[in-house]
């Protein structure tokens, strides 16, 4: 078995130029490829070494009760987690193994259970979003629901969604106020929400030096929190300020942890890694609406499958005047704004 690590600018399914006639190569530069091609055997070696150390620890601790047995188990889990591969190139068995380790580690550390999904993209699905700027009232119920659903750091007050209060008649996002706190809707204003737009041609994934962020086949741009080295290149590359960085260990009160998680979604992050909106991958891959759309009391948020010609979002695209932010950049966001 030999798996090659994903590298600079390379994504698994390149939908950008599927025609094959445009002349751009999807091959990786050979030098980098060689450098990264050797990892598996090394990993296997460390894996073996890890189980050996864990075995030794278990033997040494036998007779000292469950406490030390648990410590040994945790050490072994930590070890195996440390030397695991990039999620993008894992087999389904490897994905299962890592989520089971993570679930067990959480249980050992917290005494409670979480369920971490490794569900793959559903074939025939490309997620899209439409936001009705004539409906949004600036209530920010979506922001609140997102924080809770996605286990966002309460200490720093991290939020994926920004709601901008805009002067009627203007479209300059730079002039919008993202820090309002007063009775809404305020006269003479409209409200426009931003979050990660899951670009079809995402600039953020291309700059990652380690392949820790990529676009999934259902169009969701994800981060492997265990592969990210925290360089923040992607944050700089995003023209929509959609990425959030953990400057500190994220804190979520134990009783507020959303236990329904996904490896690529709302599982608990750590200090020094990047994160972002994933259209609630843990919900949407089960057929549910994202938390923001579910929480919105005005119906301003429409979510669905772009590949389904009968979906609501397709009707909006076909029948309403829609626009996207910074369309000229060619990032192809899958997030449209429209008016009644």
């Amino acid at each position: 078995m030999s798996a090659r690590l994903p590298i600079l600018g390379q994504e698994a399914p390149n939908h950008g130029c599927g025609s094959g006639t445009c002349g751009c190569s999807s091959e990786a530069p050979p030098v980098v490829e060689e450098r990264l091609d050797t990892d598996v055997s090394r990993r296997q070696f460390f894996g073996l070494f890890g189980s050996l150390t864990a075995g030794v620890a278990a033997v040494a601790s036998s007779g000292c009760g469950t406490k030390s047995a648990e410590a040994a188990e945790k050490a072994s889990l930590d070890w195996e987690e440390y030397f695991k591969g990039n999620y993008q190139v894992m087999t389904d068995e490897e994905k299962r193994a890592t989520v089971e380790r993570l679930e067990r580690r959480w249980e050992l550390e917290h005494g409670s259970r979480v369920e971490i999904s490794d569900q793959n993209a559903v074939p025939g699905v490309l997620y899209g979003y439409a936001f009705n700027i004539s409906k949004c009232q600036g209530y920010m119920d979506c922001v609140d629901a997102c924080v809770k659903e996605n286990n966002l750091d309460r200490e720093s007050g991290m939020q994926y969604i920004r709601i901008f209060e805009m002067d009627e008649g203007t479209m300059q996002l730079g002039d919008g106020d993202g820090r309002f706190y007063h009775e809404v809707p305020a006269a003479g204003h409209f409200y426009l929400g931003t979050q990660c737009f899951q670009c079809d041609n995402p600039p953020c994934t291309k700059v990652c030096p380690v392949g820790a962020t990529w676009k999934e086949p259902d169009g969701i741009v994800v981060v492997d929190y265990d592969w990210c080295i925290g360089c923040r290149y992607c944050q700089a590359a995003c023209p929509y300020w959609a990425r959030r960085f953990n400057w500190q260990e994220p804190f979520v009160p134990e009783d507020e942890v959303n236990q329904e998680q996904h490896y690529l979604g709302n599982r608990l992050r750590k200090k020094g890694v990047m994160e972002k909106c994933t259209y609630c991958i843990q919900r949407t891959r089960k057929g549910r609406n994202p938390a923001c759309a579910e929480a919105c009391p005005t119906g301003a948020r429409i979510f669905g499958n772009l590949l389904d010609p009968d979906s609501e979002i397709r009707w909006v695209l076909a029948n309403k005047k829609v626009f996207r932010l910074k369309e000229d950049l060619g990032t192809e966001p899958k997030f449209w704004y429209f008016m009644d």
Binding site: C22, L126, M140, N305, L307
Partner: protein
Amino acid sequence: MIRRSLLLLLPVLLFSGCHGPSHHGVRERIDHEQSPDQVEISGVEYWLDGLRYEPYGEGDFFVRTRSDQLVQFPCARCHDQPGFAASRTDGDLPESAHLQILQPHGVAEGLACAHCHDGEDPSQLVGQKGPVDFDRVYDLCGTCHFEQRRDWEAGAHGKRLATWSGPRVIENCTGCHDPHAPRFETRLPTTMYPGSEGARR
């Protein structure tokens, strides 16, 4: 020699590739990859558990019922006098009663109670074509708000409940709008940008 011809090729390569975003827009991709086959996600109905809904029209989608959510019903509990007058006084009224509404729905435009309620029995809704069930209140609202109704049927107005896949269940008009004061209320946002001015933690 080979090197030089490669160099000559360079500008050709440079100017022939993926330039300009317009060639491979996501809209083109959607047209190319779309399929009329419905994606099936097993177990998706689970998320609709506990919702009550009825088929709409031919049954292409479902609308959440209203009759089971009415709290001030029957209307004649209060409106038992001729001409919709209420026998109960302010002191007896539940706090949520709609009498505190100063500018009831459409009054400025000449709308009166009897435009939607039966003059004899306010618990019975009536439209242009006769009695209307509370669960099919869209037939009544849609009489004037036909554009909204069209958008609502198609999915651009209103709200789909719980799921994006599987059976499409949407909110009734009165699920989001108070029929007596349909405009959304003015209130403080539920949360705020961290550290916003006026922030209260």
